[in-house]
């Protein structure tokens, strides 16, 4: 094998890839926000075993945890519009973040459910005893404590989600990894392209990790 690593080309790739950073980051962050909201709702449905919704949520979590994200993207974007034509109007970007949200919500719901369960039952009883409603006890006492417990695991989910945005290229969303693939195809410089894109992903992960750490520390201050 002839190794001729071009430092100049390698450095030149960074500005190219950074152009796609808004797509990668926005996909990840929109999905995190939606995933968190949906995931928390599912966690509450499962914790309180709400009628009808409970079995449905179990199927939901089981399916989205039990199938690869790529399969879900194909089903959602290419499969469903053939059955429901109105879904054909969804653009690839929207389809990508919806699928990522749904997928990550399944994982997050399990993390949040475990966190809620780990908060001592006495906390809710105490909240009720001082005259709070169930809802108040949940939002003011139990969830904040559960959030603190859930944060490290949620951080993991965020990081994998950020990397999984690269799958969106199968739907035609040109994101960072797509740019790297096309770049290496045009120049035959695989090593430079993938190393550069890898470093960018790594840096984002380090930033994410830092934010999560700070959040964790701040939320633990009361303890």
């Amino acid at each position: 094998m002839n190794i001729n690593f071009s430092v100049e080309y390698f450095i030149g790739r960074f500005p190219e890839f950074i152009k796609f950073l808004p797509i990668t980051l926005s996909l990840a962050l929109i999905s995190i926000v939606i995933g968190l909201v949906v995931g928390t709702s599912i966690a509450l449905i499962r914790t309180y075993e709400i009628k009808i919704l409970y079995p449905l949520s179990k199927i939901y979590v089981s399916f989205f945890r039990g199938t690869p994200l790529l399969v879900q993207l194909f089903i959602f974007y290419y499969g469903l519009p053939q059955i429901i034509p109105s879904l054909g109007g969804i653009n690839a970007y929207t389809a990508a973040f919806l699928t990522l949200s749904i997928n990550s919500s399944a994982y997050m719901s399990e993390i949040i459910r475990a966190a809620i369960n780990s908060v001592d039952k006495g906390q809710m009883e105490a909240a009720l005893s001082v005259g709070m409603t169930y809802f108040q006890g949940m939002t003011k006492i139990v969830l904040p404590q559960a959030a603190r417990i859930a944060i490290p695991s949620l951080g993991n989910t965020f990081i994998s989600l950020m990397k999984e945005t690269s799958l969106a290229f199968v739907l035609g969303v040109s994101e960072m990894l797509a740019a790297a693939k096309m770049g290496s195809a045009a120049s035959y410089r695989f090593f430079e392209n993938y190393l550069a894109v890898g470093i960018i992903y790594w840096i984002i992960t380090i930033l994410f990790t830092y934010i999560i750490d700070r959040l964790e520390r701040n939320m633990s201050k009361a303890y």
């Binding site: 926005s26 290419y78 519009p81 054909g88 653009n91 040109s174 797509a178 045009a186 035959y188």
Partner: protein, 264 residues
């Protein structure tokens, strides 16, 4: 809990979301405009379709379609996607056709209609440099051969290999398969003759052609089989024929390849 830091994170999140939403909304195109034809391509298949130094889509397929577009009076718009997603896009009408050296096969003919072919080629084996043992499908028995996922080359091997003596390895990415053959992880790659020739010359990998082309291949643009497309396919056919007759196809071919690949 400290709210100022959470506030900063929240503001940052909202900002990035806005960038994303604005970024994608500006890309939406009106689908009602009838004079736009959307072409799906992988953008990762040099020299057929790739991103050039300026970051623009370039290559043989792109030149061909720009010319067809201007001849049939359509504005050509390109959609890049992973190759494995392209046929899905055609089915849900996100694109009208694919320009990625698509080979006409019997199976594809059942579902799609093709205008007249614009490229004639052959299936070619690519082997590690110095490997003189693999020159035909017969030589592949008991060995591993790489093909691109969703391509017609797997079919060629299946039809030949009735006793299941050849191990087929599918790749998401043609260049990935070339890397593997250069590294000796597989014994050969079966792909298009022209792509093979180009890559042997330009990739810098330790690879060479293995024997003569195995079978004849005709490339054309697949369109979903419906009434509306029949008319369009006729227009495209006529444009391709005209381009072949007046030498335009040959000119585009010579720009990207050393030979004319557009004649039988």
């Amino acid at each position: 809990m400290k709210f100022n830091k959470k506030g900063i994170i929240l503001a940052l999140t909202i900002f990035i979301l806005l960038v994303g939403v604005v970024g994608c909304s500006s890309k939406t195109v009106s689908e009602t405009d009838k004079n736009i034809i959307k072409i799906g391509t992988s953008g990762g298949y040099h020299p057929y379709t790739f991103k050039n130094d300026k970051g623009e889509l370039d290559g043989f397929e792109i030149d061909v379609w720009n010319e067809i577009g201007s001849r049939i009076g359509y504005e050509v718009e390109y959609v890049t996607s992973e190759f494995s997603g392209l046929f899905g896009m055609i089915d849900i009408k996100k694109i009208d056709t694919i320009a990625n050296q698509i080979t006409i096969t019997e199976q594809r003919k059942e579902k799609y209609i093709f205008p007249t072919p614009y490229v004639y080629s052959g299936a070619q084996l690519i082997v590690q440099k110095g490997n003189e043992d693999v020159k035909s499908l017969e030589d592949l028995k008991g060995k591993k051969v790489g093909v691109s996922l969703g391509s017609n080359y797997e079919q060629i091997i299946k039809e030949f290999d009735i006793n299941n003596e050849i191990e087929v390895v599918t790749y998401e990415d043609f260049l990935g398969s070339l890397q593997d053959v250069a590294l000796g992880r597989i014994d050969a790659v079966l792909n298009d003759k022209l792509a093979a020739m180009t890559n042997v010359q330009k990739s810098g990998l330790d690879i060479q052609l293995g024997g003569e082309p195995i079978s004849k291949i005709e490339n054309a643009f697949p369109f979903v089989n419906n009434e509306q497309n029949k008319e369009l396919v006729e227009k495209v056919s006529k444009a391709v024929e005209d381009m072949r007759n007046d030498g335009t196809l040959e000119k585009i071919s010579k720009k990207w390849f050393e030979i004319d690949i557009t004649k039988e």
